[in-house]
């Protein structure tokens, strides 16, 4: 019975956890509930991905109403991959949360913070599992609304401004998405994604479909901060509570990226998206602008959280570059970078979070000589930084390798050069921090700094070891990603 209902439980368990957090009202108890939930959720995700690998797509009819009339939860390999990614990140990070959140959020609000975290989780898992286009919008807003509130809980008053800006941008994005779904619904008469993709072929006039595609692309791109639409992201990540930043940087953009993958490749199909209008070229151009523009801006940031946020914008460029290339290695690179970037950026933010915990801020000055005072934290930061750069033996290298192969398959040697060049820029911004941390003498506050507590150190190092592990053993990441890429390009439902 439980096995049959796993797709529903995947979303309900964190939702129930959020309600319990509200009802118990005690910070530590809410943390404990969130911890238990965060450890149950990945178990469900593992069970789902094993089922999918074993027996193909799982379809679950919500409320007993058979699709396409009812809301369908549909787990294919891509969904299962994203579900596992999001829930695993949550499971690793939650032990870290207790001390970090305690130091940044006042007592009365802590239970609410965990409720928001679990709601955000609910939303993201929901986006990845649902097979209904409108249901995806609702989950998108559940996760976004809780994200705005989480960001606003940051200590700095600028957190409020960041949350407000994100709310405006995010709502415009979500509304664009609703417009697109409205047009698609008018044209096809269905909201079920699989059904919709089947009926798109019968639509007589394709122009509204492209209008919908445009709204869809811009709307979702706002949510995952594709280059010219990224203006909300740096402030939001810089001023949010550190735990929220780490969790959001690893997961929030990934769920939105999943949604665009779903629409590009499953609903519309490769031929319709890339065949008629130069969307592929546009995606590649925007991705390159993200990779260079955001990386260069990152070099000039003195607030390290902000620097990493700009780096996130650049990394999203790599993901969309893979989609734009639209061949099997390119798509593999994009999908595998979802996981690799989640792990890498999570590790970096957890390490920085340790420094925020000890120093109260993450300004470059706070890093002077910190390599001597917090050796383990800084070593972790350096290793994860190498993964951002894409050094062989780390997770980042795998993604870039696939992207390079994809570029060569198109015969675009220049693109490979640009990939290498953009990696060199990331050497500068990571190198800046490492230089300050190891080759300056500690002074001021840094003198009294000690290694971060074990409950924070262990999660950070689990993430860091994962960046190395996924750089060497790739069957779980790149293996599944290449299978997903093959399926998506072949239009397998």
């Amino acid at each position: 019975m439980i096995v049959d209902n796993l797709p529903a439980l995947q979303v309900i368990v964190p939702l129930l956890g959020a309600i319990l957090c509200v009802l118990v009202r005690r910070g530590w108890l809410a943390w404990f509930i969130a911890l238990v939930v965060s450890w149950i959720v990945p178990l469900i995700a593992v069970a789902l991905i094993l089922q999918v690998l074993d027996g193909g797509v799982i379809s679950y009819a919500m409320g007993g109403w058979a699709p396409p009339v009812g809301i369908e939860y549909r787990v294919d390999l891509l969904s299962a991959f994203v579900l596992l990614l999001i829930s695993m990140v949550g499971a690793v990070m939650l032990p870290y949360a207790n001390l970090s959140v305690e130091s940044e959020i006042s007592d009365g609000k802590r239970a609410w913070f965990y409720a928001l975290y679990l709601l955000c989780m609910t939303g993201m898992l929901g986006i990845s599992i649902t097979g209904d286009a409108f249901n995806a919008f609702v989950f998108l807003e559940v996760s976004s609304l809780s994200t705005y509130a989480m960001i606003a809980l940051g200590k700095d008053r600028r957190a409020l401004l960041a949350a407000y800006q994100y709310l405006i941008m995010g709502t415009i994005g979500a509304t664009f998405y609703v417009i697109a779904i409205g047009i698609l619904y008018t044209m096809t008469g269905t909201l079920n994604m699989v059904d919709m993709s089947g009926r798109l072929g019968d639509v007589a006039t394709v122009r509204p479909l492209f209008a919908a595609l445009a709204f869809l692309t811009v709307g979702i791109s706002l949510k995952f901060a594709l280059f010219p639409l990224h203006s909300w992201l740096p402030n939001a990540y810089a001023y949010a509570p550190t735990f929220a930043t780490a969790f959001l940087a690893s997961t929030a953009t990934k769920a939105a990226v999943y949604l665009i993958l779903r629409f590009f490749f499953s609903v519309y199909g490769v031929a319709l998206v890339f065949g008629i209008h130069p969307i592929s070229e546009m995606l590649i151009a925007l991705s390159l602008m993200a990779m260079f523009g955001a990386s260069i801006v990152a070099v000039y940031q003195d607030n390290i959280k902000r620097m990493l946020a700009y780096s996130s914008v650049a990394q999203i460029g790599y993901i969309t570059l893979g989609f734009g290339l639209a061949n099997v290695p390119g798509l593999t690179g994009g999908v595998v970078h979802l996981a690799n970037h989640a792990v890498t950026k999570g590790a970096l933010f957890l390490a920085v979070g340790g420094i925020v915990y000890r120093m109260g801020a993450a300004h470059l000055d706070d890093f002077k000589g910190i390599g001597k005072k917090m050796p383990l934290t800084m070593a972790g930061f350096t290793i994860a930084g190498l993964s951002i750069i894409g050094v062989p033996g780390t997770a980042g290298f795998i993604s870039k390798w696939y992207l390079a192969i994809a570029a060569l398959e198109h015969g675009w040697g220049w693109l490979v050069m640009l990939l290498v060049l953009s990696s060199l820029i990331s050497v500068i911004y990571i190198g800046r921090v490492v230089e300050v941390a190891y080759f300056r003498e500690p002074e001021g506050k840094v003198m009294n700094a000690t290694e971060m507590p074990l409950s924070m150190l262990i999660p950070a190092w689990v993430m860091i070891l994962a960046t190395i592990y996924f750089g060497i053993e790739t069957s779980w990441t790149a293996g599944i990603a290449s299978q997903i890429a093959t399926d998506l390009l072949a239009g397998v439902q």
Partner: protein, 138 residues
């Protein structure tokens, strides 16, 4: 407001009718237009009306914020609870037909409970939003 007899008496006269109308909208939702969302907002309007006439403190005594916070959670809990019971009885999540032996009775019971959950949460949320805004800057 102390001496405004007409306002005070008028408000008190209105309150029960607003609540009854909310409940009418709630239970009529089974057979016609209506349901938990609308009923919840109408019920919240009752508290807001009371607060406007008698002041925020009086309203908070009648409907304490602490109770509201619990109610917000409780409503959602009722909703998911119905879904989980349906699951335990062998149906899918929120499959009301599984609630009772007769699917039609099950659907009736299910929608009634779920809408009740919606009513509670919407009522509590709307009132809480009102309290949060009015309570600021005093």
């Amino acid at each position: 407001m102390k001496f405004d007899t007409i306002l005070r008496i008028g408000t008190k006269l209105f309150l029960p009718f607003i609540l009854v109308f909310a409940l009418y909208v709630q239970f009529h939702g089974d057979y016609g237009p209506g349901g938990g969302f609308q009923a919840g907002v109408i019920a919240a309007a009752m508290v807001i009306f009371y607060a406007i006439t008698f002041g925020l403190e009086a309203a908070k005594q009648a409907m304490p914020p602490l109770v509201l916070e619990v109610l917000i959670g409780l409503g959602v809990f009722l909703y998911t609870g119905v879904g989980i019971v349906a699951m335990l009885k062998g149906g899918e999540f929120l499959n009301y037909s599984a609630l009772k032996h007769d699917p039609v009775h099950g659907q009736h019971l299910g929608i009634l409970l779920v809408e009740l959950g919606v009513l509670i949460t919407v009522f509590a949320t709307m009132t809480a939003i009102f309290y949060a805004f009015v309570g600021r800057g005093r």
